[in-house]
């Protein structure tokens, strides 16, 4: 999935081959849908926002100069599309309180997570990410899953890289807080007891 490869399809589209766009849609649809879902928290709305994103990308393809990665360009449009929808619907998720953790608490949490089966683990994580405020899930996905640099994320959300660093730090803490609250309290207690 190289940027160079994307450019081949972009050139084909600009030369009148609209079908080449299907390749780019297939390549980025899951990531775009995941990002929009993590911001909008609703599958139908996320699907509409993803479709809007790709149509906007297609319409503005002439303006893409290739200075950044095509994926970053797509995520930027997805982010702005989600922001527009959130502003329109005035639906903002309440922020999550940030708890302070000790090393012991973190190890206990990790043990509790590791004790879950693969399916349980995936479902728990999915649920917890769903409880994060709009931007936090979006940023964590870009940073940990898509492995974008701070500069690239800053370009996507139009913020300063240092600001992104602080936001990521807070997002991590929020996810940890949610994980701790959502996991079975007895499970945590069991692992805490086991460590003693």
């Amino acid at each position: 999935m190289t940027t160079k490869n994307d450019h081949i399809y972009i050139d084909q589209i600009l030369n009148g081959d609209a079908k080449a766009f299907a390749v780019l849609v297939d390549r980025y649809k899951n990531m775009v849908f995941t990002l929009t879902l993590r911001m909008l928290k609703n599958r139908e709305e996320a699907e509409e926002a993803s479709q809007d994103t790709f149509l906007k990308v297609y319409r503005s393809l002439e303006t893409f100069k290739g200075a950044s990665k095509f994926s970053t360009y797509v995520y930027k449009i997805a982010y702005n599309t989600c922001l527009d929808r959130l502003k329109k619907n005035k639906k903002y998720q309440n922020d999550v309180a940030i708890d302070e953790f000790t090393e012991h608490q973190i190890v206990t949490l990790d043990n509790a997570l590791n004790a879950l089966t693969e399916a349980e683990y995936q479902q728990s994580i999915k649920d917890c990410i769903g409880l994060l405020p709009e931007m936090d899930g979006f940023l964590l996905t870009l940073y940990y899953f898509e492995e974008l640099s701070l500069e690239e994320i800053a370009d996507v959300v139009n913020l300063n890289p240092n600001h992104i660093k602080v936001k990521l730090f807070r997002s991590r803490k929020k996810l940890m807080t949610i994980l701790k609250e959502r996991l079975e309290p007895e499970m945590i207690a069991y692992y805490e007891g086991e460590r003693r």
């Binding site: 009148g16 081959d17 849609v25 995941t34 953790f101 973190i106 917890c128 899953f145």
Partner: protein, 132 residues
Amino acid sequence: MKENVDKLSDIIVEKAIRTSNLESPSSDFTNHIMAHVRPKSTAIVYRPLISRTGWILIFGSVIAFVVFSYLNLGVDTNEWFQNIDLHSILTNGVANFFSKLKFDQITSYAMLVCGIMLCAQIPILKHFMDKK
């Protein structure tokens, strides 16, 4: 101590996000988008300044005028515009009107400079617009 906590949090969150699979949209997602996509035209399509309808209207009016002139041949000596004394207006009226206008030297120089600047701006603006 705090650094350790941050590092452990980083590891747990990284693992959590990496293992959370990407979500997939509906199966006809790509088809739905492709249904709204039209091929981008590569060549610049030039549209004529005067459309086909415009030409038909012009041609029609010329024909109508020729036909009208042909059917109304003859010289009418009582035309209303013969009463208009264009000669006296051009020789006296216009000349008399402008003869009253007097500019002092500074105004004349200012107007001259404005004129020169205007002439200089035209090629500069044209060059700028061409570049854009």
